[in-house]
Subunit: 296 residues, 2 copies
């Protein structure tokens, strides 16, 4: 039996980066005290969700991974607590900018960077303005507690990502996220749960089809962009699923929370073998997947 | 507005092929009377689920598509009722055998054959003994009422199938199925819903990730194989989902039933556009999908 305990956190973010970092650290410590081996903090937790508007000044928020003070801080925290930390950050590299995650192992070593592959662009989510499409490919890290794959937010909508990660050996898939409902004006924000149910269903499907647990960490709170007159209410609803697509733990839509779940990775491995699906894949028939418009 | 109404049927099957055909026809007529434009009947409805055991004599159940009396009968029925019928049949072609579906349009014309791509082999589901892996690739048919894609049973577990069908233009995905719990001896059959919940969750995930409704038609009843001393209790639980992964209609586990749901295909098309996911796919990063073991 290889037991693993994973936590997802959710919190609101202000313009005060030090406050956000303190808040994230407090939640990570709470998760570790509860037995977590891996703690997932939401996407871009250090700042408000700045892609709500296209503003050149926001590029100034990015830092190179090398010498990044928050990554250094998180390395110390991971080592002190003995936990794996996938840390979302706004990365500057050369002339370009990525939406990245640094995976820090439980001894504080940096295992490597994943750069968000799929970049959204919707009203209030102007990520194509800031982030170049990631060039790392999908990566799986052999951490102290198990092999994990990370997709970042929009990546979670693409079955190709989860499938690729599990084919590469991921035993658990983690999605740091910042997603909610954007409205102009704010008064038009509604609380229709249909949107986040769809969002959850897509990832629950990845769990079921690939027979691995899925962990999603989303932000909460309403963030306003005065210049544009817009606001985003983030959904929260962070969750942890089993490997058949059932939610085991779920946070609410507005509360700072830590959710935690244990798994037996050996049992999960046996389940994947017994399902026999990977045995029967037929890659020679999948050429359409390598097209955009279906014309292989 | 392009409205479409789809039905899924579920029924038990005996060794009397004429009875099975009569039963299927009765359910198709009931669906058509209820307004269905497309009626999905379960996999291999003409016979018991013969792959429960490996028996050479069962190859004798197969027929070529050309001149197949049941397909001829179904063409007449489709024309009379003005409904699209994807008809599952055990196909003999040349020296080999396929698990196939003939798609019959609402005027009785044959649009073509899809041959099951993914062939299972589990205790009680010895399909690799009977069926060669399908050689048609994934196909989408432009029927009188909309573009449909069909996957056959085991295909439903593979996100590659649903994705390929929607990339090729499918507005609706249909899965004729024969799945249940196999036990030796029969007394050990239990009613744990976990298995069919997993089965449903995988397909609901396809619906959510590809933003199309999914329709599954499964058989019911317990079928015994005296020679092997085994039995399979089929799950039923046929269902129709929306395009966000929510079940809209669901049959129970043991009753002969017709479930029916209407959709607006234009609204579904707009929803897919607004989700923007297809725009952001990155096929150049999906090379792992074309491998079996993840070593691209």
């Amino acid at each position: 039996m290889r037991s693993i305990t994973v936590s997802a956190t959710q919190m609101g973010c202000s313009v005060a980066q030090e406050d956000n970092l303190e808040r994230a650290e407090r939640l990570i410590r709470r998760a570790a005290a509860g037995g977590a081996n891996i703690v997932l903090v939401q996407e871009l937790f250090l700042t408000p969700y700045f892609p709500q508007t296209e503003d050149y000044s926001h590029f100034g928020l990015a830092r190179p991974a090398e010498g990044h003070p928050v990554l250094s801080h998180m390395r110390g925290l991971a080592k002190e607590l003995g936990v794996v930390l996938p840390v979302s950050f706004f990365e500057k590299s050369g002339q370009v900018y990525f939406n990245s995650v640094m995976v820090i192992d439980a001894d504080g070593t940096q295992l490597g960077i994943y750069r968000k592959t799929h970049i959204p662009d919707d009203p209030g989510y102007y990520e194509k303005f800031y982030f170049s499409p990631g060039d790392t490919g999908f990566r799986v890290w052999d951490t102290a507690f198990g092999k994990i794959g990370v997709g970042i937010c929009w990546d979670q909508w693409f079955p190709e990502v989860a499938r690729s990660l599990v084919l590469k050996g991921a035993e658990l898939i983690l999605y740091p996220t910042a997603i909610g409902t954007c409205a102009v004006p704010e008064a038009e924000l509604d609380d229709d749960p249909a949107d986040y149910v769809h969002w959850q269903n897509v990832m629950l499907g990845h769990a079921a089809a690939n027979m691995v647990p899925v962990v999603a960490s989303n932000r909460i709170g309403t963030e306003r962009c005065d210049a544009a007159g817009t606001a985003i209410r983030f959904w929260g609803a962070s969750f942890i699923s089993d490997s058949t697509g059932r939610k085991l733990k779920e946070a609410d839509n507005s509360t700072e929370q830590v959710i935690t779940q244990s798994f037996d990775l050996d049992e999960l491995r046996d389940f994947r073998v017994e399902c026999c699906c990977f045995r029967d894949r037929r890659p020679e028939r999948y050429e359409t997947l390598l097209t955009l418009d279906g014309n292989a």
